[in-house]
Symmetry: C2
Subunit: 407 residues, 2 copies
């Protein structure tokens, strides 16, 4: 995809190289929303036509990823975008504090950019960033809808360093847009735009252990202040963030291990991939026998693992009254042969070649959690999204000629 | 196989249609041991040559099955012989109290026939039938060895009705000889002759429940007398029968269910098939992934089972210091689709066509335990024995021309 290097645009509702009628009926009225306009730098219309419609006639596929802050969303995003190839990087030459990551196929935007109150504003109002009143859901909805419809937008930037709202940045409609943050499934209108949604659910024990590790060891905070900050966030988290998981098509739960009976330092993890049944373009991964209940300890005669080993579980379940399949991994990998052995026994992975999951995991073996279930399930979710995208694309190609003949 | 209808023979060490030198060096000296001799009824040598060597040049394959009395050995035998086709029946026209069962391929002899003391004798000596002193292991060894070498024998008959030793019956060397009873693996010489050995291990709880069911309901015994009879047998059972399981290549353990937490009436069973690793011509059955540890509840999205359902377990283990694989089934089948679904996920079954285990189970759906793990594992053991027999036969055919060229 060619990117026009245009960073500021001014004329509201003007169009460039856009001919389909969908582009002008959106009724954007927020000041922050800008449509992409003609740039002096772009002269060839052929090139320009690539700008506004990254995916040709196909609409942008929108993925939502919800999680609390400090829960490994950015690692997840790097694993997810890596599946599509190419490095995910901030917009070139833009605000160095941009939260956006762009790669060949995907654009990841951080929903913190839709904070309607900056840090001072929140302090004055006595609300946390988790509170919906501190966020502009109207703008979030309209901009995500615009991108989904193939229209570039000028999205605000929340500067995490200063705590202020910086001038907006231009977001081109990519093939796949990932919106990640605290509230991707909070607003029903935004939720409706999502082609697939993921909730990263870190249990309190693990969250606490991670915070201690990071804030005590790396930032010198006291145990008491960490506990206090977690406790302070909890009511809003429980009220506004946690309930979103009921809408997720896939949930990754991160829990303490059950393999070590007493002493758990939060180092060995039990990770569960909860996959909703009946989601269009998404067929859950399974272990050995689809729809039955299984446990599997791969370590044995053919594979030797060190203590505490690895235990998989798989089976049907219900999750907020939805029928789901759950794949669980407790423990951690030690070596490559463990990885490939496990991948070999999982089905419906949507890989394009033998060992693709293992390849993805090895590519980012330096990422946190690469030897546990997060490291296994996150690239798998990436592969499922690639598959979902390709199915949607194929369907839209089938539909397009029909629509043309109707017109 | 054509059977010569000869029931009495007299001349010791005389031969008929026997040309290989192995037939005359056995040094039998017991009065009960008779070699097959020429009969007036048989005139054609071609037919006669089929008599002494049922398997041509191949030796008879010998299988041992050990179990306590009243533990379903005869049902097991019927399932096992059924795999080879043809009905297993007592020798035609012989002693109606014969314990032998003959089919096209197999001959099953009951080791009670080697009691050296009849019922009165045991009473006088104060020993049970379980006691080795009440059994003639020299004769057992020599006759099994003779049959294995292709030589017919005159085997005594223990009359279970009268408790006396009846006149002997002629046993032709079959393709497969099964010796079943209390002591097939007790005597090291007999044990050495076995190509494959099985121990049917009924747990005390289940044994007790079965005895109550049979002896109280059907025979009108009191609960106290049943308990007393079990207790009386226990020391000898523990001393002489139970230790044989350490030598078995396969053990079928029958235990109470673990699916119903409190109330267990011995009706729902948990059955374990313990299979020794490294046994020539025998590759253990496995579930999904050979050598790893698994549990599997097939009942789920694709298969609906009624309470308490079915649970399988599989994995490596050690058994009397031997490396084994254990396949376990807890619960019982309700319908045919459950059967075929389970068979479909088991590997190394040595079936000749898809669904052969299910077919075998359905053929004898009226046998006791047909809906539980005994009904599943017993035909599987039969299939493994058929496979073992065919491998031995194939090997002997490869070896024979070589031996001939050496001679």
């Amino acid at each position: 995809m060619a990117l026009c290097t245009v960073y500021t645009t001014h004329a509201l509702h003007s169009t460039c190289c856009v001919s389909t009628p969908t582009k002008n009926h959106l009724g954007f009225h927020q000041r922050q929303v800008f449509f992409y306009t003609h740039s002096n730098k772009i002269t060839r219309s052929s090139k320009c036509s690539e700008i506004s419609f990254a995916t040709g006639d196909a609409k942008t596929v929108v993925i939502g990823l919800a999680a609390d802050s400090g829960c490994g969303k950015s690692t997840f995003m790097r694993r997810l975008t890596s599946v599509f190839g190419g490095a995910a990087e901030p917009p070139k030459g833009g605000n160095p504090y941009s939260n956006t990551l762009i790669s060949d196929t995907t654009t990841v935007i951080c929903l913190d950019d839709y904070h309607s109150l900056d840090r001072t504003g929140r302090k004055e109002m006595g609300v946390t960033a988790l509170d919906p009143t501190a966020n502009n859901f109207d703008l979030m909805y309209e901009q995500v809808k615009a991108i989904k419809d193939g229209v570039a937008v000028e999205k605000p930037i929340y500067n995490h360093v200063t705590g202020l709202l910086d001038p907006p940045e231009l977001i081109q409609p990519p093939k796949i847009l990932v919106i990640e943050g605290l509230h991707p499934m909070f607003d029903p209108r935004v939720r409706e735009l999502l082609d697939f949604s993921i909730y990263l659910d870190i249990s309190n024990e693990v969250k606490f252990s991670w915070k201690i590790q990071r804030d005590m060891a790396e930032r010198g905070h006291s145990l008491e202040s960490i506990k206090a900050s977690i406790e302070a966030r909890k009511p809003d988290f429980d009220a506004y963030i946690d309930p979103q998981k009921q809408y997720a098509d896939a949930v990754i739960e991160v829990l303490p291990t059950q393999l070590i009976p007493d002493k758990d330092e939060g180092k060995v993890l039990r990770v569960r991939l909860v996959m909703k049944e009946g989601v269009k373009y998404f067929s859950p991964v399974y272990l050995f026998d689809e729809g039955s209940t299984l446990t599997w300890i791969p370590c044995g005669r053919k594979l030797t693992c060190s203590y505490p080993g690895i235990k998989f579980s798989y089976g049907p379940d219900t999750y907020f009254s939805h029928e789901v399949s759950v794949l669980e991994m407790d423990g951690q990998f030690e070596r490559l042969d463990e990885l490939i052995y496990v991948e070999n026994h999982l089905s419906n992975l949507s890989t394009k070649f033998y060992g693709e999951v293992t390849q993805q995991m090895l590519k980012h073996s330096d990422f946190p959690g690469s030897n546990n279930g997060t490291g296994l399930f996150q690239p798998i979710v990436g592969l499922k999204i690639r598959d979902l995208y390709e199915q949607i694309l194929a369907d839209s190609k089938v539909e397009s000629p029909l629509q043309a003949s109707k017109a």
